[in-house]
Symmetry: C2
Subunit: 416 residues, 2 copies
């Protein structure tokens, strides 16, 4: 299992891409490497990379390569997210896609072509560098899709398929990269989100999960309750239910301890419990913590949570979460992870509005938590639409199938 | 009278601010200096300068200083526009003012404070450099104000006063700069525009005009008709009507030959006639042509007009308009300008919707053109609200007052 961190530059946050200072990168990545992790995930800004629809900035691409090469010197692999897009409440859209030039970033053919061109440019430029972990299409681009976005770019599920196909092809241009698609959790929890659970498993080389307990989990269940510390495990198991190949990896690409809902003194325990639970999920390829460094208080207007997510302070002091994370990395490097659950809970994905039942506090979520409590381990998830599961049970090592009723735990019935 | 050009970088357009190359600047400014002009107007990009509400990028400010110093070596003065804002159909708004962080750029107190901070930062950093011509608050920020903008930032005329007061104070922080406020022509022509004619004359040290005959003038009157080649003169005279001090300078800060409405072969004649007419306006301090270099066809999605506005092609070849401009600069440097008209036409600014009558083809515009044809020179403009004009007539050298009726030329009556 791999361990890494999402790299949030200590000086100037992601705005530092506008004038990258190699010495700052070296300082930050040196601190990150001291945690014992093997990789970082990086996020250049779209308007800096591609200021005009037909102009990819070679300077900006070179800056990305600089970060990759500094990481290599420090023994770190790098996963690159292409389109940002969205980061910590801020949207970074190039001027050629806004106001007078407003075009849909998922469906306008010229816009999508330009995005694919950028992915392809990176695929080629990163080729041959041995410390490239992979390419993610962009950070949670599906945040732009739903009508709750103040400046939404509407897309249908079928159009989302076409978009993903085009961008994955771009990122695969060089034929060698590990490609992933990262979505925020509305894909599994919100029936209005046009990027659906199947979009997580039908594209790229692994299924990506971003687990954030400020989504209601921590508020409903409390900071150290299973509803919070098993949230990442749950979402990983839930996402894997749509796999067509039981061996497809799952990647906990973002998980953090938001101290707006997790008391700061509980954050290390939350971190440890979260990672121990997640590590039991079959096929987990890695955990990439969010994030490396706190946002400095000198930067205005961030949501409060963003100022305290780092494993390091903005001036490079290791925090208690960082110490705990490093200890877990050492432990997991030395030993193995637990074995996956042989129990599975059935999700009725044929029911209208089933995604709402999966959301924190929803009937399926509660049933899963109850089963986890009863078994001492979070169950895998099966989709009712795939019954009777004959091959799947074998491939996934499932021996017990539980049915969840809409009433939650009390309705669990065993098909053991 | 001063002559200059609006500097549109030949390589990478204004995106070049993201990674300024001094050698490119030196090449471009060398070409510009060969025209015999004395100044340039420059436009750094707001998101590059101020990526976070509380972060002004010293690198970006240093890049501006680099351009200023290269200009000085080449004998060019520099006018800096602070907030871009808007350039050639593209809007550049920092992420802290859009989508989830949407705030009004004219009325939100923290946003306005940040804008004023940026103006103040430039005021201080530019202080002491002898080749600073002045500071303009930003390029046509009033484009964001009216409801026709797809992402409008509503503001009332009184709020516009407060905004201007705050920003002018910022730009004056060092006490030495020549400060101006640049608005597009809707302020004089469109009754829905909250930035009004008085906002042009009540703030800063000169009244700024941007004259663009694609606003209907060329379409209605033809490329070389007085309605087009006297448009800049007309707008300068119209704007000066609101002056409280007859000695206040007027600056033709932007004027260009848009070949979408001016046939390319007529563009040099349009340029020459425009400048000769404008030069007769009392108090004209200078003409700053738009622009130095064509936008390269390698850059996508610009309105067609933007690819052919340069005095040079994007690869540095002097165009016929450039030759004509240089010849006029030489001529005006050697000799003087004509004397201003002693005739004035009265605009009834007390009538509802009077701004619409001033627009190209409107009754006041036509009356002014008729008077110009009859007198052989464009008349000055008096505001009916200020009748009987006793002091104004003396101060402005007006001996004949014409009344314009809503029917246009036929209704002109002389109060000679």
């Amino acid at each position: 299992m791999r361990f890494g961190v999402n790299y949030t530059p200590a000086s100037g946050w992601f705005h530092s891409w506008q004038n990258l200072r190699e010495e700052d990168v070296r300082r930050d990545l040196g601190q990150i490497a001291s945690l014992g992790v093997d990789h970082i995930r990086i996020f250049p800004l779209w308007p800096v990379l591609q200021p005009n629809r037909s102009l990819i900035s070679q300077t900006a691409v070179d800056d990305v390569l600089t970060v990759v090469d500094v990481a290599a010197e420090l023994g770190l692999d790098v996963n690159l997210d292409v389109l940002q897009g969205h980061l910590s409440s801020y949207d970074f859209l190039p001027a050629w896609i806004t106001t007078w030039h407003r075009r849909n970033l998922f469906t306008d053919p010229e816009v999508v072509q330009a995005e694919a061109d950028l992915a392809e440019e990176f695929a080629r430029q990163l080729a041959g560098r041995p410390n490239i972990m992979g390419i993610t299409l962009g950070n949670e681009l599906n945040q732009f899709a739903p009508p709750v976005h103040p400046d939404a770019h509407p897309v249908t599920p079928l159009q989302a398929d076409a978009w993903l196909e085009k961008l994955v092809a771009g990122a695969r241009a060089d034929g060698e990269h590990f490609v992933t698609n990262a979505m925020y959790d509305a894909s599994w929890y919100d029936d209005r989100q046009p990027f659906e659970p199947r979009h997580a498993v039908d594209y790229g080389d692994a299924t990506v999960i971003h687990s954030w307990v400020f989504n209601g989990s921590a508020q409903i269940f409390g900071a150290l309750h299973d509803g919070s510390v098993r949230h990442a495990e749950y979402l990983l198991q839930l996402a894997a239910a749509w796999h067509h190949d039981a061996a497809r990896p799952v990647w906990l690409q973002e998980v953090g301890a938001p101290t707006t809902v997790i008391p700061r003194e509980s954050a290390p325990d939350f971190l440890e419990a979260t990672i121990r639970h997640a590590a039991t999920v079959p096929g987990l390829m890695g955990v990439t913590w969010w994030c490396s460094h706190d946002v400095s208080r000198a930067l205005a207007d961030f949501p409060e949570v963003e100022y305290d997510l780092g494993l390091f302070t903005h001036d490079g002091v290791l925090k208690p979460t960082g110490e705990r994370f490093a200890a877990l990395v050492r432990e997991f490097r030395a030993g193995g992870v637990g074995s996956p659950s042989s129990t599975a809970l059935v999700l009725d994905d044929t029911a209208e509005g089933y995604r709402g039942t999966c959301a924190p506090g929803g009937s399926f979520h509660r049933a899963w938590l109850d089963a986890a409590a009863a078994e001492g381990q979070g169950p895998q998830v099966l989709l009712a639409s795939r019954a009777p599961y004959a091959e799947e049970l074998v491939a996934r090592g499932i021996r017990t199938v539980l049915e969840a009723s809409p009433e939650g735990s009390r309705g669990i019935t065993s098909n053991r």
